[in-house]
């Protein structure tokens, strides 16, 4: 595989916040150890955490052509049991602390067949190994932590291609030292590991979060050069007065995982320009292994709000409602990506693991976007967040932005279907004002809008609005 850990075996692949380190040679050694006890192809549930054991196990599995299905080590054991029934993994890689609970939950057969770097390799009660397609390398969840049975099938070629593109446009060299800020079971977090493995760099691994003192002392002690963040991460950094922190080693910041507000994008870009750093806004989906576009940092101010251009090796285009390709600038259409990192397809159970490539390198993203005359792309919203009200196309995301700017300090969420939009707004704003405002702005009849006052808008851990919960609340008890 592309990472060839046995080349430069003395180079440090990762260091954790206790000062423990693992070299590339040790990862190659772990792969050899695993090969001795479990030869051949297997499906392994990889219970991930930002630790050396988790990272080394994942890397060794990929080296050995064992397919890891990436899950959070914090996943509820009942959900884990349900996923195991669906996917029938023969192996499980988990932190030592979970061995006893997993045995008690009858998810694994004791004792561990191998124990390294704080992690244990265990056999499950499923036998034999399920048939898997030769190209299948890793299974990634699109939802993160909820135990959804829906996974993206990525190939070895997908991993190699996306890592190579990322190394190229971020110009990652062997002297880079990224610090972990995202879970490694999340495609964005994993793409950072993959790209730095490919570059022979050293990953700084910590399970501490940005609001912990130990994170920042580790950052400074080990001279981190870069980190990645979702919009919520950057919102939090701003509140932590990140712009005034003394971080001399920091060179690069990347952002993906949703649209940053234009104000925060500008603030980060200005900070980067003023301090000689690089700030990359990027766009991607798990369905494309991770990355599809990036905004070159020298354009981050004059193209503020843009997701930029396709990554090296990829192509972006816009498609109109009839499926035709849009060639004119400033016209909104559905964003389509073509590239070698587009995944093979989805899996819903072990039955799907023998399937080959169902996408032929084409990903219809479900995101609506426009392109300016210089070829820079701007996401307008999710396709399914566009609805028709009395024959007029309405963008629910845009509507939220309008309300938020007109009623500062509040929070809101819009859902809608069939000529009816429900606006959830945090208590304190007269419903009639909100309704009058949005009807005026959209030039639609006020009867299309229902305003519901709520105490808070439900959010995920990453700060994304949980629309499904709002839909459920409408359906009644």
């Amino acid at each position: 595989m592309a990472w060839s850990f046995d080349s430069h075996p003395d180079r440090v692949a990762a260091i954790d916040d206790t000062g423990a380190a693992i070299t590339r040679g040790q990862i190659a050694g772990l792969a050899a150890q695993i090969r001795d006890v479990v030869p051949g192809r297997h499906l392994a549930f990889c219970l991930c955490s930002n630790t050396l054991g988790s990272l080394a196990g994942y890397a060794a599995f990929v080296e050995n052509r064992i397919v890891p299905l990436m899950l959070s080590a914090g996943l509820d054991h009942a959900l884990l049991g349900r996923l195991a029934e669906l996917y029938r993994p023969t192996l499980l890689w988990a932190p030592h602390a979970l061995v006893v609970p997993l045995v008690e939950a009858a998810l694994v057969v004791e004792p561990p067949i191998l124990s390294e770097h704080g992690y244990a390799l265990m056999r499950t009660r499923y036998e034999p190994a399920v048939p898997m397609h030769d190209d299948l390398a890793v299974l990634l969840s699109t939802s993160g932590s909820t135990g959804s049975p829906h996974f993206v099938r990525c190939s070895y070629a997908n991993l190699a291609a996306n890592a190579a593109s990322i190394v190229e446009y971020l110009e990652i060299g062997a002297d880079e030292r990224p610090i972990t800020t995202l879970p490694m079971e999340y495609s964005y977090g994993l793409s950072i590991l993959n790209a730095h493995f490919a570059a022979g760099a050293t990953v700084l691994v910590t399970s501490k979060s940005l609001v912990e003192k130990e994170f920042w002392s580790f950052f400074q002690r080990e001279r981190a050069t870069s980190f990645g963040g979702v919009p919520y991460t950057y919102g939090m950094l701003k509140r932590l007065r990140f712009f005034t922190m003394d971080l001399p080693s920091l060179k690069t910041m990347t952002q993906a995982g949703g649209k940053l507000s234009e104000a925060l994008h500008r603030e980060l870009a200005e900070y980067a320009h003023a301090t000689g750093r690089r700030f990359f806004v990027m766009y991607g989906q798990t369905e494309a292994t991770a990355r599809m576009s990036y905004l070159p940092p020298q354009r981050s101010l004059d193209k503020c709000g843009s997701i930029g251009i396709a990554i090296p090796g990829g192509e972006l285009s816009l498609r109109d409602a009839d499926g035709g390709t849009i060639t004119q600038p400033e016209i909104t259409g559905e964003l389509v990506y073509v590239g070698p990192n587009v995944s093979l397809g989805y899996a819903h159970s072990s039955d799907d693991l023998a399937k080959g490539d169902e996408n032929s390198h084409v990903l219809v993203t479900g995101d609506m976007a426009r392109r300016d005359a210089d070829g820079y792309h701007y996401i307008v919203g999710r396709k399914k967040r566009f609805i028709k009200i009395f024959g007029n196309r309405v963008n629910l995301d845009e509507m939220e932005q309008l309300i938020l700017s007109a009623f500062p300090g509040t929070d809101c969420a819009c859902i809608g279907r069939d000529d009816k939009v429900t606006i959830f707004i945090v208590d304190g704003n007269p419903a009639s004002d909100v309704r009058r405002f949005i009807a005026g702005k959209t030039a639609l009849h006020p009867t299309a809008f229902v305003v519901t006052a709520v105490l808070a808008i439900p959010k995920s851990g990453a700060g994304k609005t949980l629309y499904a919960e709002l839909e459920t609340s409408l359906a009644g008890p």
Binding site: S209, L210, E212, M236
Partner: protein, 78 residues
């Protein structure tokens, strides 16, 4: 309300936990006290006591007990 009561109320509201579990509560011991919950708690405490906490104290605020020590720096006595 005494400062101890206000302090306790802030935790109960931020994390939806019973008050008797608070004395031993540390960061990330419960799912609601993650990084998102942490910033929410800081906002409630700043508002409750009319203070602005320094960044070093925000990231050093690792437990219910530790928080009390940190708040005394801002004149909040328990």
């Amino acid at each position: 309300m005494t400062n101890t009561e206000k302090y306790t109320k802030a935790f109960v509201e931020a994390f939806d936990v019973p008050p008797d579990t608070l004395p031993t509560l540390v960061y990330q011991a419960i799912s609601s006290w993650d990084s998102v919950g942490h910033m929410g708690l800081m906002a409630v405490l700043e508002e409750t006591f009319g203070i602005t906490m320094e960044i070093d104290d925000v990231i050093d605020f690792s437990s219910f007990e530790k928080g009390k020590t940190l708040l005394t720096k801002y004149g909040v006595e328990f």
